[in-house]
C-alpha cells in the first residue's frame, strides 16, 4: 500500500502535498470519499501537522473524545481511533485531502505519533523494494484492521499500538462471543428442543449476557426475543429451529467478516451489533427521494418501545427503515404521518442496510406531520400483485437472510378460510399474522375488513417469520394507519 514513485513527499523531502485524485484513488468507495470531503474542512480539525513521513490531526466525532488520525503518507498506512472497519477511514481520507490542498502546516508530532511513525518507517525499510506501487493501496488489502499490505492475516498479528489494540480487542471479543453462541446452539440441538432447560430463562439470559459482553448486543436482543417464544403456541419448535438456524448463520458469518465482500461484511457486522455512530451514518452519501411513508408499527422489545417507519422511495423504488426507541416515559419519533410523501435525504447504515437516518429536508414545513395527507398526497408508489410483493420480500431475504421484518406493498382483498386470515388476489395469497384481540379493542384484522369493505385496496404490510402483519391501508385520498401503537402509559 504505497504511493507511486513519481509522487511527492519522499523521505527527507519537505512534506509536499498529494493531488486530490491520488487521495480519491485510496477511498474504498465513493460514499467514503464523499463523507471525507465533508470532513475536509480546516475548522473541524485540531492539532494538525505534517512532516516528511506523516500527517496527523484530531477531529471531533459523535463520541466524547475526538478521533486521533495519523497517516504515513509515504507508505500510505493509516491509523485512526474511530471504529470504522473500512480503511482508510473517512477521517484519514479527509486529513489527506487537507494535506493535498496545502491546508496543513509543517509541524512536530506528539511523542505517541512520532513513535508510531518511526515504527512504521522501521517496518517499511526492509521491504521497501517489495512495496506495491501505484494505487493498490485502495484495494482489498486496505480492509484489514492494521492497514498494512503485508498483514495478510491480521488476526494472527499482534496489535501494533494502543489504538489498534482497542479495535482488535473488540473484534476478538465479538468473535469469542460468536464462537460461544455457536457452541450454545449446538448444545441445544444436541439435547433437543424438547429439553426442559429451554423453558428456563436463565439458559437464554446467560447467553445474552455473554453476547452483550462480547459487543454483540443486537444478537443478545434476538436471543432474548427467542426465549420468549418457548412454548408460546403449538408451532413454536419449528419456528425455534428456524431462528436457531439464522443465529448460526450470523455466528458463522460474523467469524468470517474479513472473507466477506465489504457491503455484506458491513451488513453482518451491524446485524450482530457493531455500533455505528450517528454522525458517521449522516456523513455518508444521502439518498434524496420523495419517500412515501408506507407504514408504521410499534413493538415492545425488552424494556424499550421501538417504532418503525417504513419509507418507500417513489423514484428509487427502494425501501428504508427509520427506527426510534423510547424507554419508560420517553417519547417516540413523530416526524412522519402514514400516507404522506416527504422529500428528504436518507442516509443508510453500512452495508446497504434498510435502516437509515433522516438528513436534510427539501420541502420544509410541508413535511410536518399531517401536512398533505388529504390535500396533496404527493407521489405514490405502485401497489403490485401478491406475487410481486412476495417476490420482493424474497429478494430482500435472499440478500440478507437474517432479516426478521421485511416491508411489502400490495393490492389485495381480505379473505379467510377455516385456518387462515389472508390477503389475496386472483393469483395468490399471503397468510396474515393477526391474532384475535380477545375482546381488547379493535384489532388490525377487523380494521382491515372495515376499511376495505371487502374490495381490493392498497396495503402496506410487514413480512415476519410468523406471517404478514398489515400496517396501513392507502385509499385514494386517505390513508389509515393500522400498525400497533405503543402503550400510552409507557411512552409519552
Amino acid at each position: 500500500m504505497g504511493r507511486s514513485d513519481d509522487s511527492p513527499g519522499r523521505p527527507g523531502d519537505d512534506p509536499l502535498p498529494w493531488s486530490e485524485e491520488q487521495v480519491e484513488s485510496l477511498a474504498p468507495s465513493a460514499s467514503m470519499m464523499s463523507a471525507a470531503r465533508q470532513l475536509a474542512t480546516p475548522t473541524r480539525w485540531r492539532s494538525t501537522g505534517a512532516d516528511e513521513r506523516g500527517v496527523w490531526g484530531t477531529v471531533q466525532g459523535s463520541g466524547r473524545e475526538p478521533y486521533e488520525t495519523v497517516v504515513d503518507h509515504i507508505d500510505v498506512v493509516t491509523r485512526c481511533t474511530c471504529p470504522s472497519r473500512r480503511l482508510p477511514c473517512k477521517h484519514a481520507l479527509a486529513l489527506l485531502l487537507l494535506f493535498a490542498r496545502g491546508q496543513i502546516a509543517t509541524g512536530a508530532p506528539s511523542r505517541r505519533t512520532r513513535t508510531w511513525l518511526d515504527r512504521r518507517q522501521a517496518d517499511a525499510q526492509p521491504s521497501v523494494d517489495d512495496a506495491p506501487t501505484g494505487d493498490q493501496g485502495s484495494g482489498e488489502g486496505s480492509d484489514d484492521a492494521t492497514g498494512d499490505p503485508n498483514d495478510a492475516s491480521p488476526p494472527d498479528l499482534p496489535p501494533r499500538d494502543e489504538w489498534d489494540r482497542a479495535r482488535n480487542e473488540r473484534v476478538e471479543s465479538m468473535s469469542g462471543a460468536l464462537i460461544e453462541l455457536d457452541r450454545w446452539l449446538e448444545d441445544r440441538l444436541r439435547t433437543g428442543l424438547a429439553d426442559p432447560s429451554l423453558a428456563d430463562y436463565a439458559t437464554w439470559d446467560q447467553l445474552a449476557a455473554r453476547l452483550v459482553d462480547g459487543r454483540a448486543g443486537s444478537l443478545a436482543n434476538r436471543v432474548r426475543r427467542l426465549a420468549g417464544r418457548v412454548g408460546i403456541d403449538a408451532d413454536w419448535q419449528p419456528q425455534m429451529l428456524e431462528e436457531l438456524g439464522v443465529l448460526h448463520l450470523l455466528a458463522q458469518a460474523g467469524q468470517r467478516l474479513r472473507e466477506l465482500p465489504g457491503p455484506l461484511a458491513d451488513a453482518v457486522a451491524t446485524t450482530i451489533g457493531w455500533q455505528v455512530r450517528t454522525a458517521d451514518v449522516l456523513a455518508g452519501v444521502p439518498e434524496t427521494d420523495h419517500w412515501f411513508v408506507a407504514g408504521r408499527s410499534d413493538a415492545r422489545e425488552d424494556r424499550l418501545e421501538v417504532r418503525r417507519y417504513w419509507l418507500y422511495g417513489t423514484e428509487s423504488q427502494r425501501w428504508a427503515l427509520i427506527l426510534s426507541f423510547a424507554a419508560y416515559q420517553q417519547s417516540l419519533e413523530h416526524t412522519f404521518e402514514v400516507g404522506d410523501t416527504v422529500h428528504v435525504d436518507l442516509h443508510r447504515y453500512p452495508g446497504g442496510a434498510l435502516r437509515a437516518l433522516v438528513g436534510r429536508r427539501h420541502d420544509g414545513a410541508d413535511d410536518l406531520p399531517g401536512a398533505g395527507n388529504e390535500e396533496a398526497p404527493g407521489p405514490r408508489p405502485v401497489f403490485g400483485s401478491v406475487a410481486d410483493a412476495v417476490a420482493g420480500v424474497g429478494a430482500l431475504l435472499a440478500s440478507q437472510p437474517w432479516l426478521d421484518r421485511v416491508p411489502m406493498l400490495l393490492r389485495a382483498t381480505v379473505a379467510q378460510d377455516r385456518t387462515r386470515r389472508m390477503l389475496t388476489d386472483s393469483d395468490g395469497s399471503v397468510a396474515l399474522n393477526v391474532p384475535p384481540t380477545a375482546g381488547r379493542g379493535v384489532g388490525p384484522w377487523t380494521s382491515l375488513i372495515a376499511v376495505s369493505g371487502g374490495a381490493p385496496v392498497d396495503i402496506a404490510a410487514e413480512w415476519t417469520p410468523e406471517g404478514v402483519i398489515p400496517l396501513a391501508v392507502h385509499l385514494a385520498h386517505r390513508s389509515h394507519d393500522l400498525g400497533r401503537r405503543a402503550d400510552a402509559s409507557f411512552v409519552v
Partner: protein, 286 residues
Amino acid sequence: MTDSAIPPHDGDLGGRWETLVTVALLGTDRRDPPAGTTVIDELVDDTQRARPAARLLAQAAAVTAARRAGARPGAPGAPFVPPPPDHRPACPSAATDRWRHVVAVWPVLEDEWLAAVIAGGWRIDPVLVPALLLRHQRDMARLALVDVAAGPLARWLVDVDDELGDALGARLERITPGSTPLALPSLPIPDALERWREHELATVTGNLLAGLRSGQLAASHRTVLVNLVARLTPDVDGLRHLVDALSRLDPLDPAVSLATALADLAATRASMLDELGPTTAVTPAR
C-alpha cells in the same frame, strides 16, 4: 408465508425441513441429521462439521434461508362478498379525529356527533365503525344510531368478522330499521339554567360570563354547566363567540380553569357541527 412456501429448485425441501424438525426435537444425541445429495447437502458439505449438531444447524440455516427467500404465494382465497353500496359520503377525516377527541374528553357530545352525521347526510368513516359498534354494543339506543350512521357496513361487518360477531351477537338484528329517534337525550340542567336556553346565544354568553366573574358560577357547577353548553342552540357562530368570550376571562380570575374547560367544550362542539354540516351532494343511503 413460510408455511405456504413452494421452494424453488428442490421439490423435497419441505420434506427435508420436516425431518430436520424431528431430529431437532429428539436431539442429535439420539438421532443423526439427514444426509443426501440435494442442493442443501452440497451447500453445507463441509468436512469441518464433524459434530452432528453442527451439521444439523448448518442444514437448518440453509433450509430456512431457502424457504424464506424462495417462498411463493399460497393458493388464492375467496374474498368476502362486499356489503351493499352506501352512496353517502364518508364523514371528513377531521370529523373522525373529532370523534376521538369527543370520546376521550367530552363524551357528553357523543350523541350529538352521531345525530349530526345522520342529519348531515354522511356515513361514519369505515375505520371508526368497529370501534363504535363495540363501544355501544350494550346500549340499544346508541347502537341504533350507529346502525343508521354506519349504513350497510355495520351489519356486514358483524356478519363477516368473527370478533365483532361474537361481541354483538344478534343485537343489530333486534333494531327495527327507521325506528331510530334523532332527538338528543335530555341532560340534567337546573331550571334556572334551563331557562337560559330560551335566549339567544349572545345573551347566554353574557349571563355565563357574569356568573363566572361574580363567583355565582364556580367549579362546583361544572357538571351542569357542561350539560348546558352541550345543549345550547347548535349555532356554530354563536358557539365560537362563546369561546372567544370565555377565553378573555382574566387569567387571575378564580373561575378561569372552569371557563377554559367550557371554552374547549364549546369549541369542540362548534367544530363538530361545522365539520358535519349538510353534505353538498347527499344521496340517500340504500
